[in-house]
Amino acid sequence: MSTARRAGAAPGLAVLAALLWAHGALAHVQQGEAAGFLTGFRHPISGLDHVLAMVAVGLWGAQLGAPAIWALPVAFPLVMAFGGLLGLMGVAVPGIEYGIAASAILLGAAVMFEVRAPLFVTAFLVGVFAIFHGHAHGTELPAGQSPLLYSMGFVIATGCLHALGIGIGAVHRWTWGRRLVRAAGGVVAIGGVFFMWKALT
């Protein structure tokens, strides 16, 4: 077997090894508990308002190119975690739902119009919105058994959403791709308007 094929089998072996370390089955259904990595991973992707904003961060980064393409996905999880910290500590931040909806509207609009602001402006804007998203998650985080695994799953899912946005934004190099990315920004902005309407009514 070639080295490449042996290396290709490694992920399969990892999955097999992970299965061997599976927990014992529990005889009751767990509800609302931070049971571990998968529970944390599911949390950010379970709300469309969060998904739209985080994908938009990746799209905008892809449009802007270096260094924004990596600075924004680095800044967002960190500031979001700070917002989560505030939420966990019970520090009130007013207008959370409006802030989340506004983030989708403004980030979507920034992608749609290919706004090219200086890096500190984009990072500041993304950071402010990340606080709203993080705070909402922080106040919603359920009591559980493994805060560390939950937190890791939560943060990695957020990073994957950014990566998804960057991946979609990779088509930006082609003319049709630029139109597609801008259209995606429009969809995000429309989604934001919907969530703002829901928050207001």
């Binding site: 290396a7 490694a10 990892a14 999880p77 985080l141 943060v155």
Partner: protein
């Protein structure tokens, strides 16, 4: 010396990460593998993300700085871990290390994000401090028995292997995007540390 195939190194780190993500609930005693105390200690490290992730972050930082830093971390961290573990065996079990772990996540994650150009001496000090603190916490409650010493050796071996593999993977990265990916991983580690800190303040 023959160089290790980078794809094998990457696969090794992926396996270690995969295992860490499938860990069971944290327990105050060693997991039993049924294969003896050395393997119990080894498994304890691989299934304790509060120990594994800071060690991984230190290895990433060392790898970003270069081979000399990687070699220093690969020696200093396991040696300090073993020393801490042995010195903690006479202490009673302690609780409340969650905040300490969170701070390590924040510090090391932050240094990886910044691609901090720390000196070799600072790297050695960081590795020694991390090893002593986490080793001590691992050692508490084990009791000064021969089995516990064997478990500590297994644990130390796991620390060594993880540090060598992770640092070696990062050292050979040349593409700019790959080094940035390592720094993004640092931001995830720091972010997880911030959330853990909030959780510690709130209580479960």
């Amino acid at each position: 010396m023959k160089r290790l195939n980078p794809s094998w190194l990457r696969s090794g780190v992926l396996v270690a990460l995969g295992l860490s993500l499938c860990s069971g609930p944290a327990e105050a005693h060693l997991n039993s593998t049924g294969m003896g105390p050395v393997y119990d200690g080894l498994l304890h490290f691989l299934t304790s993300p509060e120990d594994l992730v800071p060690a991984l972050a230190l290895a990433l930082l060392a790898g970003l700085r270069g081979a000399a830093f990687g070699r220093r971390a690969a020696i200093a961290l396991p040696v300090a871990w073993l020393a801490g573990c042995l010195s903690g065996m006479n202490a009673t079990a302690t609780t409340g290390s969650a905040i300490l772990s969170s701070l390590w996540f924040l510090l090391l994650g932050g240094l990886v994000i910044a691609d901090a150009r720390i000196s070799l001496g600072a790297m050695t000090s960081l590795a020694a401090l991390l090893g002593l603190v986490h080793g001590y916490l691992n050692g508490t409650g084990m009791g000064p028995t021969r089995l516990a010493v064997a478990a500590a050796l297994g644990l130390t071996a796991a620390v060594f292997v993880l540090t060598v593999l992770a640092a070696a993977v990062v050292v050979q990265l040349r593409a700019n995007w790959a080094r940035i990916a390592v720094r993004v991983a640092g931001s995830w580690i720091a972010a997880a540390g911030l959330l853990m800190l909030g959780w510690s303040f709130r209580g479960r």
